[in-house]
Symmetry: C2
Subunit: 271 residues, 2 copies
């Protein structure tokens, strides 16, 4: 079961990457990352609505014009944060693919990565959510919107390929008249819906009655069973796999997360 999935390094096709030619461009690109990091800190400190361009300008060593040279508007900045989120998410995804197991286990590993990423970077996750809002799409630069689109495709592609793999292996047979794209979309929707609702709910006052940790896996298994993706959850201990994903693939990220939640007293434990 060897993989010819997406190349591991491939972040973005060059077509959309600004050409980084000289030292100059290099420095500018680095500064952009620096600004994004700063923006994250401001958000963490002043709340989501506390992030303003003026604050960012005040916090960095550059002038307003320079900042606006990077981000054409506040929404463009948000979009950039969203892109950053999806890039790190993609890294998580590729890491998840390393989990040793059958295709369905790998898909669950992907979901684990999805949730882990959202928990590790809740601020960035909200940027992604916010970027799905028209307010952002209306005002972000076309260039960044395109980049966002490409990244979305790439993320989806990772998921797609697992479906293709499962079909090739005969573990999954799409019902007549349906394509793997549809199945993949269903999985995506379930993962997104579950994660977004859970995160939004735990932010709100709602004392979550659900066993948050297992919920995503549970929901995914329901759906995958519905697809008849073998082995069915009744014949296989996916909870064991789920835990092993944490132990075998994401040890560092998990301990970092635990460390962090211990300080802030948040409750989103994951293993």
């Amino acid at each position: 079961m060897e993989f010819n999935l997406v190349s591991k390094d491939g972040h973005l096709s060059d077509c959309l990457m600004k050409k980084i030619t000289g030292k100059r461009q290099q420095a500018i690109a680095e500064r952009e990352q620096e600004l994004l990091l700063l923006a994250e800190h401001i958000m963490a400190e002043h709340g989501f609505s506390g992030l303003t361009m003026d604050k960012l300008v005040a916090a960095c060593d550059y002038s307003k014009g320079t900042v606006y040279n990077h981000f054409s508007s506040k929404e463009d900045l948000l979009c950039a944060l969203c892109i950053k989120a999806m890039q790190t998410e993609l890294d998580f995804f590729y890491k998840a693919l390393n989990f040793k197991g059958n295709a369905r286990e790998k898909l669950l590993a992907l979901c684990f990565a999805y949730r882990l990423h959202a928990l590790s970077h809740p601020t960035l996750f909200y940027c992604v959510l916010t970027s799905k809002t028209p307010a952002v799409a209306e005002r972000a630069s076309q260039e960044r919107l395109d980049m966002q689109f490409v990244l979305e495709q790439q993320l989806g592609e990772v998921c797609n390929q697992l479906f293709v793999l499962a079909i090739e292996n005969g573990e999954l047979q799409p019902p007549e008249g349906t394509t793997f794209t549809q199945l993949s979309f269903a999985a995506w929707a379930m993962a997104f819906g579950s994660t977004a609702l859970m995160l939004a709910a735990s932010t709100a006052q709602l004392v979550q009655a659900l066993e948050e940790e297992k919920t995503l896996m549970f929901n995914m298994n329901l759906m995958l069973d519905g697809m008849q993706w073998l082995p069915l959850s009744s014949d296989f201990d996916y909870w064991d796999s789920w835990q092993r994903v944490g132990e075998e693939v994401f040890v560092d990220e998990l301990s970092k997360l635990k460390e962090h939640t211990r300080h802030t007293g948040a409750k989103g434990k994951i293993t």
Copy 2:
């Protein structure tokens, strides 16, 4: 199969409803609806980010202070729009319950209503999405946040009761160790995830390869099959049910939607 579901009139428990005592309060409440309607129009015309308090003040016959008497901030206004959206959604839900059929068909009718509502009021749907964003939760008034919470509960309750019904009827058997709440949440997550992603995608440039109309039903059926909710989709023509929901329950809403999309040239046909 008679229903003792939530009372049909019940919009909100009085505890959170401002007491409407005299003529005075009545007039104020009406004005609030008028303002919300106006806000919707402004959003439709000037785009999502084009809605500002100043524009709203300019467009209505009242002063800034009066408007701020209704909505403590722009985010509070958004939250109010979100509440309005959920109220009309609740109406759609109750209507969907009138569909004659088994419990699983009724749940699909609920999803039909969910999607139809999102298509009929895309602007309001985005308000709901935006209200899941911390920027809104941070700045909206507590009173309205509470109201939003209650409405969410009510919407969820409708879904819950269908699960209870199915379990009572023996059409659904929760796996050991799971409650109907978990199953209901899964359904909710799937419906939300599918709808949100589809709507966001069709807003973006993405030429949707999916057969949008069937997708939500398809995804729901996958999951319900995974729950072993009888009758399984392999033994029952749910596509027929789905279409009948439109014909038998939502004729008016559908024709209104068609009329509207014909004018604007949008593509979100639903039947």
